[in-house]
Amino acid sequence: MKKISARQWLVFTVILVAAGILLLSISGYLNVIIGKAASPAVSVESWVSTRYQAIYEFLTVPRDINTLRQQNSALQDEVSQLQSQVLELQQQLNESQILYALLDFARSKPENRYVAASVIGRDPSPFLSYIIIDHGSDNGIRKGMPVVTQQGLVGKVDAVTATAARIQLITDPGSEVNITLKEAKTDGQVSGSVTGDLSLARISTSVDLTEGDLAITNGLGGTYPSDIVVGQILSPSKGENDLFQKAAVQPVVDFSNLKAVLIITNFTPVDITPLVPETSQ
């Protein structure tokens, strides 16, 4: 019988150990053994790793602050850009809301043709109430054309250049608008003043004026088309010996916050000045 060599014994032992380990591993006993054997190594590794991380963070923190500062300033830039975008969008929203309101008004009166314009300035003299708009004769605007908003009457075109026009507001001291009072069913005249207030004149004392009565244009004089709202009557007063009553008129248009207007381009004003008899002073 052939004698088994030491080398063969070694190979056999290795195969046996490997098979044993395989069997232990399959049966799950090896994990417990490995776990117990590796535990001190894991603890040491964890301890080393924690210290290393601490040292690494300590050495790299200043660089991180710089990075954070850069990121912070980039974000601040972004925030300010977004804020300016928000403001711009809000402004566009306001403008479009105004334009939609004007469009609604224009649709409600399809017999008129309108040109919309933005208000770009005011007359330099504080005595006068005129505004300047960004549309002129190139857009079909002519002197005398009436100007309105969705709320009511604004005034009339006073002067025109190719790209801009000056509008005399109804609050101007030189402005006079012939009106009809809706409830009282009588005609009168609304005049402006240097303070921007409107006042009602030429209403007979026999007429009963009521506060809140609506003043609308009556088309007399040929300056404005009829049925445009001017304002509401406030505090009517009647003197015993007066020929006419007086009242303040609250305009329906907010003249201090006028951003856009509509010019009625198919209305031709009539100049009746030659027909008005001269009165002796």
């Binding site: 300035g121 330099p124 005595f127 030189g174 240097v194 303070t195």
Partner: protein, 166 residues
């Protein structure tokens, strides 16, 4: 030659006047920054060409305003004359000269406008105008006079070279 810079600045001031200053009222009065600029310019030692500036400003305002053109011409030319006279007599005390010119220049401007509009047949109440326009506007002009003067003086140092001063 660099004095020509004052003219585009007057155009810029007119735009600011129409688009911003007129929307910042005190009662119904507003400041007139063109008047302030001309007054400050005329009070500079080398501001002898303020006449041309006054005419230029009057032309600009005549286009923009519904006030008759001659009102601005008269106002600004008298203002230029006042500022040059004050510069000659009170050159050592420009602050008093400035306040004097701005105060009387403002009163003159608004009274001329009042009279011109009255002549045109526009019925304006004088007391109402005095209370709500003339006094507040003059006050605003006096309030803004010193800042405008400082800007014009700084600019004048650059516009008029130092050799020319001596």
């Amino acid at each position: 030659m660099s004095e020509l810079l004052f003219y585009p600045i007057l155009v810029l001031l007119l735009i600011i006047q129409l688009a911003i200053v007129r929307y910042l009222p005190l009662f119904n009065g507003t400041a007139d920054i063109l008047l302030l600029w001309l007054a400050a310019w005329g009070l500079q030692n080398k501001g002898k060409h303020v006449w041309i500036g006054a005419i230029f400003a009057a032309v600009l305002l005549s286009f923009a305003s519904a006030v008759p053109w001659y009102a601005y011409f008269v106002t600004y030319l008298i203002l230029a004359l006042m500022s040059r006279l004050m510069n000659r007599h009170f050159w050592h005390n420009p602050l008093i000269a400035l306040l004097f010119v701005v105060f009387f220049g403002s009163l003159l401007e608004y009274i001329i406008q009042f009279v011109v509009l009255l002549v045109q047949g526009i019925s304006i109440n004088f007391l109402e105008s005095l209370k709500f326009i003339i006094v507040p506007s003059t006050f605003l002009n006096l309030l803004l006079a010193i800042p405008v003067y400082v800007i014009v003086s700084d600019m004048a140092q650059w516009v008029y070279p130092k050799e020319a001063d001596e």
